[in-house]
């Protein structure tokens, strides 16, 4: 069997094995959960500005994101976030809480392989590409802005 035929057969095999999920409920839940997480962020931000009226808006956003990251990391630790992720899909991945989850989750999972080579290395399996692509793109944008 040549390689192309084999790949085709394998892809068909994979397609048959992927659990079928009905798309419409997940679309609805991802919308709902994503919207709720964003409203939660807005709520935290408004509370911070209410309690510390002198704070700059940029600083308040910094605290808001840190609090959201803390919550997501904690919920991942106690195993709740993955349960939300199961039905919310994109609603739990796309917000910054999903970024936090993508760091905490592999850190937890590979802790048994050691602190350095397990926890610290595997922590960046998903966040690494995100940070790399973001930094590369932002440096390029910065250099472009230097000339315009």
């Amino acid at each position: 069997m040549d390689a192309q035929k084999r790949n085709e057969a394998y892809n068909n095999y994979v397609k048959a094995k992927i659990p079928k999920t009905r798309p419409w409920p997940t679309l609805f839940y991802s919308f709902l959960v994503g919207g709720v997480i964003c409203c939660l962020g807005q709520g935290i931000n408004d509370l911070i500005l209410l309690w510390f009226p002198t704070m700059a808006e940029q600083t308040a956003w910094g605290y808001t994101l840190i609090i959201l990251i803390f919550l997501a990391s904690f919920l991942t630790g106690i195993g709740v976030y993955d349960k939300i992720g199961k039905f919310a899909g994109g609603g739990s991945i796309v917000p910054i809480t999903g970024f936090s989850n993508s760091i905490t989750s592999p850190a937890l999972e590979f802790e048994h392989e050691g602190i350095i080579y397990g926890l610290c290395v595997k922590m960046f399996t998903i966040a690494g590409p995100v940070i790399v692509s973001g930094v590369v793109a932002s440096v390029i944008v910065g250099i472009i802005y230097l000339f315009i």
Binding site: F31, C39, G91, S102, T104, E111, C120, M123, A137, S138
Partner: protein, 118 residues
């Protein structure tokens, strides 16, 4: 009343992510990467601030906002410091988020044990 906008835009951004997952089976790492790049692009062409004006957390809490603040930091630092700003600005603006995510992940990974997947 602006919470309605926050909810709608935030939900919409997340739903686009879910549509991508359903249509193309791409992994969550690729979702996050592409949304960060979209954020950088939107900030670079100046559209992000316009959306952020009415969507607030709806566009800032999704990872798109992370990309936008990377770009915003780089652009601002370039204007203030010149070429070196392109290198320092992006990470400076997002350092809080990255440091928080790393710190909490480290602490909670030490405290909690992984749940065995059934």
């Amino acid at each position: 009343m602006y919470y309605l906008w926050v909810f709608l835009i935030g939900g919409l951004v997340c739903m686009i992510g879910q549509i991508l997952i359903i249509k193309t089976n791409i992994t969550s790492a690729r979702i996050l990467v592409s949304f960060v790049l979209v954020g950088v692009f939107l900030e670079a062409i100046g559209v992000f601030d316009y959306i952020s004006g009415f969507a607030r957390a709806g566009i800032n809490v999704p990872i798109v906002g992370f990309g936008a603040s990377l770009a915003k930091g780089a652009i601002g630092a370039v204007k203030a410091k010149g070429l070196v700003g392109a290198f320092t600005g992006g990470l400076e603006a997002t350092a809080g988020g990255i440091a928080a995510a790393v710190l909490f992940a480290f602490i909670f990974a030490l405290i909690f044990k992984a749940k065995t997947k059934k």
